[in-house]
């Protein structure tokens, strides 16, 4: 399809990001049509190319969602000539993105100040745990730590239990926010002709997810950890059904929806029970209400019940595992699920763009994860104009490796 059918066609990214959050941001931009050049090396390959023992993955991954769509080149950034080549890639790019620990890019000679010499109107993202400066900038961190520092971990959990560890969704949420910021900076560049440097701290994204609780805390009103409850809606939560470990999620927002629910339950009298007659009453009698719902669902199946409730306007959905997600016709039809395959990858599902564009409709995952250095003919050859002999010589001296 034409490049014009992708909203970010023509934009190019020099991608130095590692781990999950940074690569997610450039992956999303690549789904939108930006050309993303992933810069790594044999000495420091991306994490997905290695085992991830703490997670239980004992071998390299065969597919990596956040590397999909990207081009791959090898550069040994410990060598000055490799750094010079990286600068040349930046010079022909619109955006540079990195997610090393603060200070690493400067030591490499690839910080914003240096890269602006190569590209005066560069838009650059540095994504880190705790920002580029400040008292904690040197701290090491991963998604669970972002959640802990930022307060999201504390606010999540059973009310009478410990805080909950955030997983890769925390990384990817940081990546989502980075995309929004990068696109705003690109618009700013289009309007003013000037570049921009964005310093995103992933722990601040965790704080942004509890912005309401922070407003309360600022006023001296200690927010409570609500678990699965919504403080103004009942019934609201996750309920067991006839099958073990099979849960139905349910949310009733108002009296009309409550009446619709009682119609499905088959106890219309419950609609007029004074304990449940209003939203306030239902919240005050939440325990009795949850008992009523739990008894009703004890011989019901989640999927059929969710469909029935949606038909009468009640918010309900089964708690799906990933197999059910992968099997869903709705997600497939929308392109949220898309199939990819590659030379070393069997056909499998990846997640496409969460948006359908009426005109620039060719968004999404177009190819799987690149093998290391697979796009050097294009990047080093076509974009940078290096000859085959020059590249061979650089490879021999481990500049390209």
């Amino acid at each position: 399809m034409s490049q014009l059918l992708r909203p970010l066609a023509g934009l190019r990214i020099a991608d130095f990001t590692i781990h999950a959050a940074g690569p997610f941001s450039t992956h999303v931009l690549s789904q939108l049509g930006a050309e993303c050049i992933k810069i790594e090396s044999n000495a420091r390959p991306d994490a997905f190319r290695k085992p991830h023992a703490v997670y239980g993955r004992m071998t390299a991954a065969t597919f990596d969602q956040v590397s999909a769509n990207k081009l791959s080149v090898r550069l040994n950034l410990k060598k000055p000539e490799a750094v010079a080549l990286a600068k040349r890639i930046v010079a022909v790019s619109d955006v540079a993105a990195e997610s090393f620990r603060p200070g690493v890019m400067k030591r490499l000679g690839l910080d914003f100040q240096n890269l602006r010499e190569a590209k005066t109107d560069l838009v650059m993202l540095s994504l880190s745990a705790s920002g580029q400066d400040g008292p904690d900038s040197h701290f090491a961190g991963y998604a669970p730590l972002f959640g802990a520092w930022g307060g999201l971990g504390w606010m999540s959990g059973y009310t009478d239990g410990p805080p909950v560890e955030m997983r890769h969704v925390m990384d990817h949420s940081a990546g989502y926010h980075a995309v929004v910021a990068l696109l705003a900076a690109l618009h700013q560049r289009r309007r003013t002709g000037e570049g921009q440097y964005i310093d995103l701290a992933a722990r601040d994204v965790a704080s942004a997810m509890i912005g309401d609780a922070l407003v309360m805390a600022s006023l001296g009103e200690a927010p409570i950890r609500p678990g699965n409850e919504d403080l103004l809606m009942a019934p609201y939560g996750v309920y067991p059904t006839a099958v073990a470990d099979r849960w139905l999620t349910l949310a009733v927002r108002n009296d009309e929806e409550w009446r619709a629910l009682t119609g499905v339950i088959g106890t219309p009298r419950a609609a007029h029970d004074h304990r449940f007659a209003t939203a306030d009453a239902r919240c005050q009698n939440r325990t009795s209400l949850d008992l009523l719902i739990t008894r009703w669902l004890s011989d019901r199946h989640a999927e059929a019940t969710a469909r029935r409730l949606q038909q009468v306007g009640v918010c309900a959905h089964t708690s799906w595992n990933m197999q059910e997600v992968a099997d869903d016709p709705h997600l497939r039809q929308r392109g949220a699920l898309t199939q990819v395959e590659g030379p070393s990858t069997e056909k499998r599902f990846a997640v496409g763009m969460p948006a359908c564009f009426s005109k620039t409709s060719d968004v999404g995952v177009r190819r799987g994860t690149p093998s290391l250095g697979q796009d050097e003919d294009y990047v080093f050859g076509e974009l940078l104009g290096l000859s085959t002999e020059q590249r061979a010589e650089l490879e021999q001296r481990e500049v390209i490796m």
Partner: protein, 391 residues
């Protein structure tokens, strides 16, 4: 129309961008909030009784919604009911000057309010029209509705929570959602970035319609679990925890600890005082450490329980061991780190009170972001004033 008392916003990244927002849901409102903070003029069109979000939990002691105040900071408010002729005139006036329209009107309710995409595309060919709905505006479930608890479970992430310590303690309890509106915030990000992408392409293709789904956005956010399924592993919260590390209870709070690299493991061993159990040859192998994860965690749990959080975390980070305190909202809002990064800004809430409100989770070096105030619901006089400007 209420005024936004922000600083000079002309230098901000999205200065000059005019956005009209109709939001009943957190996703649509968060999209507008992200864009407003970066300099766009965002006008909320509210029904006469106000956005439902003005009454959404959590509430402050005086009944004002803390959530709404967080989401509406920096926006303007205008009363507009598109079911009426007057409302249609306001809508036309606003969309006539808008670059972007963010809307979460359910598909079934669009026609009666002249909000269907084809109609708007005909009327406003250069408009970026972003629909953001729980399950999107197309597909077999386009008419399904969902609140946060439904959406985080529809994307697969809810089923996987909690993992680690909470699951160990309460294995028989229902799965647990992330606090607040995490899935809808991802939907808001997807709507905002889609809007800016389409606006980027406007020179080539003109305006267009974008159909964003919160379920899809949360699924992309949790894509790693689908990736694991492709690797042959159907994840469950019982088994998704890190093999070692996680949440540990200290004497005066909770610590998160995670060592992924060998050097971090070596730092942890040093932090623990080089105990004999950790110095055995087998544990130099990361795969063996994973196999013995439970045993390692028992030792670490016992050690942590006898110490204070700040001591543990300070010493750990000195040794390069990733460790963090589980901080409360009160600690975050008064934290030195947050103060030095300028994460919060004083903001007048809709009830007239002053609070410190989070600005944005990123800093723009050349043009620092600012936070406007929260608009109160427009009063009748302001409606007249707005009407007078329509012509």
């Amino acid at each position: 129309m209420s005024k936004n008392n922000s600083h000079d916003r002309n230098s901000l990244p999205l200065a000059g961008c005019y956005i009209v927002e109709r939001s009943r849901t957190v996703a649509a409102a968060y999209a507008g909030r992200l864009l407003a903070t970066m300099g766009a003029t965002v006008v909320m069109l509210e029904p006469e009784q106000g956005s439902p979000l003005r009454k959404t939990a959590p509430l402050l002691n005086d009944g004002t919604s803390a959530l709404f105040n967080y989401l509406a900071a920096g926006k303007r408010s205008l009363i507009c009911d598109p079911q009426t002729e007057y409302g249609q005139a306001i809508l036309a006036s606003e969309l006539g000057q808008a670059h972007i329209f963010i809307d979460d009107t359910p598909v079934k309710a669009r026609n009666t309010q002249s909000l269907d995409p084809d109609h708007l595309a005909g009327q406003y060919p250069n408009l970026i029209h972003v629909s953001v709905l729980p399950f999107g505006a197309s597909g077999p479930k386009a008419d399904w509705d969902g609140e946060e608890v439904n959406l985080i479970h529809a994307s697969g992430e809810g089923f996987l929570l909690p993992n680690g310590r909470s699951y160990e303690l309460f294995p028989n309890r229902p799965p647990l959602k992330i606090y607040g509106h995490f899935a809808q915030y991802q939907g808001g990000c997807a709507a905002a970035l889609s809007a800016l992408s389409a606006w980027w392409a406007i020179r080539d293709v003109g305006g267009q319609y974008i159909d964003v789904s919160v379920q899809d956005a949360m699924l992309l956010c949790g894509a790693f679990a689908l990736q694991r399924l492709g690797d042959g592993s159907l994840e469950h919260r019982a088994t998704r925890s890190f093999r070692y590390g996680g949440v540990f209870e200290a004497r005066d709070g909770y610590v998160e600890l995670l060592t992924l690299e060998d050097r971090q493991w070596n730092g942890l061993v040093q932090l623990l005082g080089n105990p004999a159990w950790a110095k055995v040859e087998a544990l130099t192998d990361p795969l063996e450490r994973s196999r013995r994860g439970n045993e390692i965690n028992e030792h670490v749990r016992e050690w942590m329980a006898q110490r204070n959080v700040e001591t543990i975390v300070g010493n750990a980070q000195e040794l390069g061991v990733p460790a963090a305190k589980y901080r409360t909202p009160t600690e975050v809002v008064s934290g030195k780190y947050e103060f030095l990064r300028g994460l919060f800004s004083s903001c007048t809430l809709s009830n007239g009170r002053q609070a410190e409100v989070l600005v944005a989770p990123y800093r723009f070096q050349r043009t620092p972001l600012t936070l406007g105030h929260v608009p109160p619901l427009a009063q009748p006089g302001e409606r007249v004033a707005a009407k007078e400007t329509l012509s």
